[in-house]
Symmetry: C2
Subunit: 225 residues, 2 copies
Amino acid sequence: MPKEQENSLQSQAYQYIRQKIATCEYAPNQMLSESQLRDELGISRTPVREAVSRLVQEGLLTVFPKRGIVVSGISIGDVHKIFEVRSLLEPYTLRTYHNNISLEEMKEFSDSFHNHALPCEDTCLQDFYQLDDAFHALIMRSLENDYLQELSARIQTQNFRLRILSGKTIDSRIRDTMIEHAQIADACLNGEWEQAATAMEIHLIHSRNSALSMLLKQSSIAGIL
Amino acid sequence: MPKEQENSLQSQAYQYIRQKIATCEYAPNQMLSESQLRDELGISRTPVREAVSRLVQEGLLTVFPKRGIVVSGISIGDVHKIFEVRSLLEPYTLRTYHNNISLEEMKEFSDSFHNHALPCEDTCLQDFYQLDDAFHALIMRSLENDYLQELSARIQTQNFRLRILSGKTIDSRIRDTMIEHAQIADACLNGEWEQAATAMEIHLIHSRNSALSMLLKQSSIAGIL
DNA sequence: ATAGAACATTATGTATACAAGTTGTACATA
DNA sequence: TATGTACAACTTGTATACATAATGTTCTAT
């Protein structure tokens, strides 16, 4: 029987670089080079190049021949694209694949959204982000179509980067997110899937607007983006 | 100013192999090897490996370490996945991006659908396929979102392969396709975009069912798929 | 001081050498 | 004959050497 191993150096390099990009440790528009990555990972150029090639295809890197490698930026237009895809996929998933969603897990999320206190400081803020991601991931995990699943994974990475670039979320948006998530989760628990999908659509519009305004404020401070 | 060249050996190899897969000259489940591709292309392993890596990511190839490379198959489940994505993207594109669609070109397609005679033999059948592809491509080209555009491109390749594997389309389905295309095109020309989108949804269901039955018949003849 | 050419540096693109695992075959052995 | 073992012939994974192009620097000439 065939087995596809994924502990190769190429795969390790891919995971490593991808993580650095996702967390913006490799910042948008930052220049990289194969030799730098090679030294950092302690391996040869070949697996590094293969990892870079994969990330280029995912849109996270761009290679300029003989010039270098640059981490893809996230612009206002990208925010629209990211949320357009989310708005297409996430309500669709609720409407079409809700039978695959674990109601037990959904119940736990519902409780968290109802009971969660306002985040205090950095640690709590990270908890909030993680809760947010896990909630949407729970829903998207029910998607059975590989093509859409893969697209969703790409978007989740971009969304992760976007949040880091946007800066600290304001408390009011956190509170609203909790409320909107609770509405979605409760609709799911009641089997009101169409209602859940509609609530998701509204939630994503609000999230997008919040991200846009935060990114605009951030970029006006930083000068350019 | 940065320029991304795409005339590299790696890119040529990618185009070449991808074409061979799309036309099923490299048949589904066929085994390949780097050395074979290297000889066939007359280049070294490195650009071949990079091309293969890209195609693995696109789902057209699978590499089994130390064992070889296999061309991805298309199963009944894949047909459902392909048409699920099409059913999600194409009506959405009509509803959302119709302002980007060239009505002049749409008019030409409409005329073709109304006037096109039934295909006679192989050459005419190829014309029909090309017309079909071009029509859907015209619509999908209006999509502005890179993520969705790329997904659509992947799906178009799979659809191309699927048609080859399915065997010769029966005349009645060709006639129906012409009619359904004409309805979509005319609705577009009348600015009835919601109607066009609905007609597209129906058309895709019919196309999927036709593809499924043809593939079933084909696979029952061929034994396995 | 400034402009331009030669050059050193560094980048990726490509080719090749070597490492390591898988598979099938031939052969020895019971 | 059947079976297991050693080995030869593949495969891809990884490292490295070389080719080529872009860039910044330095030195020279005006």
